[in-house]
């Protein structure tokens, strides 16, 4: 058990437990906190793989901006605990084993696939940021400019949607 494998299992367990907690918790703020834990665990996994820039961007943008937005909206709307509704028992009894079986088949298929999926993931040799930025500004410059336009549209949309009606 190399140290990297041990760290992988710890972070993977953290991510899965966070995702399970998102489902189990009844108050949306606790689900949001669990999702933040998942994102930080994933950032750790990216760091383990050697993509430090993506890890930092994941924490800054996802964990520090998008989830803050979620937390703000939950606070502003005063979202309370979820009510119990009548989910059919059959769905629980039959659904969960089926879902587990589906996941098991998927995992087995991935694990048994061709050798390239068995190759280890090691840390990259070139500086990760330099590589990504070269590619972003040379090959992908058009999508990059488009995403800036997309963000502008999203800002305008969010402002228009959340305005108070002029009454």
């Amino acid at each position: 058990m190399t140290p990297q494998l041990a760290i992988f299992f710890v972070l993977a367990a953290l991510a899965v437990l966070g995702a399970l907690n998102l489902i189990i918790q009844r108050h949306p703020i606790h689900s949001a906190l669990s999702l933040i834990v998942v994102m930080i665990a994933l950032a750790g996994l990216y760091l383990l793989m050697g993509s430090e820039f993506v890890a930092a961007v994941q924490i800054i943008v996802y964990g520090g901006a998008i989830m803050v937005l979620f937390v703000f909206v939950i606070m502003l709307l005063n979202a309370g605990v979820e009510e119990r509704t009548n989910v059919s028992k059959l769905a629980g009894v039959a659904g969960i084993p089926l879902a587990v079986a589906l996941l098991g088949f998927l995992a087995a298929a991935i694990a048994r696939s061709n050798e390239s999926a068995q190759a280890g993931v090691e840390a990259g040799t070139l500086a990760n940021t330099k590589e990504i930025s070269t590619m972003l500004f040379k090959d992908f410059v058009y999508p990059f400019e488009l995403t800036s336009f997309l963000i502008l549209v999203a800002i305008l949309g969010a402002i228009v949607l959340a305005q108070r009606e002029k009454s």
Binding site: I29, F53, I60, G64, V68, V71
Partner: protein
């Protein structure tokens, strides 16, 4: 036992470094509160704490004891998990950001091992610091919300909205420095300013990036919720903002988190804009290497002289003792046999000196400036600071294109 230490040497060195740095940071925090109270008091023509220990030097210990021993009530109706998580998160994130800062250029050579000054030398140093700043919004927002009371909720929402808004200008104003240095690594940023050692103070980043420096400093003061941006936690406005419902130890955690982020911001300002551990004098002026001794010796003698005539007996014992220690260190750094120690001390001396200057500027602003109203604060952040920092990026990029980075 020795072989056990030798085998796990790297981990043990890390643990010792972490423990030492934590101890030092917490002590500096405590004495920063003393320093702030003294300086603000003297600016207001009064003495600060001067009864607890000579010149009030034991006041932080008294405050610490108070925080530990006071009753810690939990208000009714709070969301227990979030209420306990918020100060923990704020403190943990603030203390983590100290781990990334490098404290000296040369490693310490002890027992055949090289120990670098600084815990983690990350290739994405600045980016990791921004990540920690981005996450620290949660401490404030969750504290305000979980307190189940209207003043903390309003204070928490306002404070976190302010932090999120000024985060943008903070990150944008640093891009100019990154363009000049070509790397996120903090040591590389300092080394890029050491490119022309004969320029001394004029080689620092603050001259080409003066706009960026002002944007960064203002945004950082707003991020740490200090005067003049401390409306969300000012006493006359919102009781105490997001930490109203927090009592002794949890309040102390927020307090320590705030002062630690002040220290981190001062460290970042010196590293990115003021040359970090570089001396302001040109490298050829080697006589300036005696400056630590020149400062410590008279200061130690003055402490002795002041201590001998102090009012209380305890002061008359302790202060001359401290003074003699400082004098001895000052003399020791000047003797020729210990010059290698003096050379080693140069880097951290300048770094700590500049950090001290920035902390003084923080405290000075606290004693002098009135605070912004909330809408003035938000419009300043979005309408003035963000366009100026973006303009700084454009101008810097253009200048580098025309004249090269160095």
């Amino acid at each position: 036992m020795i072989s056990f230490l030798n085998a796990n040497a790297t981990i043990i060195i890390y643990l010792v470094k972490i423990a030492l740095l934590l101890f030092i940071v917490l002590t500096v925090n405590a004495y920063l509160t003393w320093f702030e109270r003294k300086v603000v008091a003297h600016m207001q023509s009064r003495w600060g704490p001067h009864r607890v220990g000579p010149h009030g030097l034991l006041q932080p210990l008294a405050d610490g004891a108070k925080f530990l021993l006071k009753e810690d009530p939990t208000p009714a109706g709070v969301d227990k998990f979030t209420y306990f998580l918020a100060p923990l998160m704020a403190l943990a994130l603030a203390l983590t950001s100290i781990a990334i800062i490098p404290f000296g250029p040369e490693p310490l050579h002890i027992l055949g091992r090289d120990i670098t000054l600084g815990i983690a030398d990350l290739n994405i140093g600045i980016l990791a610091l921004f990540a920690i700043t981005a996450l620290s919004v949660y401490g404030v927002a969750l504290a305000g919300w979980s307190s189940n009371s209207k003043y903390p909720l309003l204070g928490g929402l306002r404070s976190s909205a302010q932090m999120v808004s000024y985060e943008l200008s903070l990150t944008m104003s640093v891009v100019g420095v990154l363009l000049l240095a070509g790397s996120f690594n903090l040591r590389d940023i300092i080394n890029a300013q050491a490119h022309h050692p004969e320029r001394g103070i004029f080689g620092w980043n603050v001259w080409p990036q003066i706009l960026g420096f002002f944007c960064f400093f203002v945004a950082a003061v707003a991020e740490t919720n200090r005067v003049p941006f401390d409306l969300p936690e000012a006493e006359s406005e919102l009781v105490a903002g997001f930490h109203t419902e927090y009592a002794s130890f949890k309040f102390a955690m927020f307090f320590i988190a705030e002062y630690t982020s002040m220290i981190t911001v001062s460290c970042l300002c010196t590293i990115m804009f003021f040359g970090g551990w570089l001396s302001p004098f040109p490298a050829s002026w080697t006589f300036t290497h005696y400056l630590p001794s020149v400062i410590l010796l008279p200061f130690g003698l003055w402490v002795i002289w002041d201590g001998i005539r102090y009012e209380t007996i305890f002061g008359r014992l302790v202060l001359p003792g401290i003074g003699t220690v400082l004098t001895v260190i000052g003399i020791a750094l000047a003797v020729p046999q210990l010059q290698f120690v003096n050379e080693f001390v140069q880097g951290p001396f300048w770094l700590l000196g500049k950090i001290f200057v920035f902390l003084f500027v923080y405290v000075w602003m606290r004693g002098t400036l009135p605070r912004f109203r909330y809408d003035q604060l938000m419009s300043f952040g979005w309408k003035l600071l963000l366009p100026v920092s973006i303009a700084n990026v454009v101008i810097t990029a253009f200048a580098i294109l025309m004249w090269g980075a160095r």
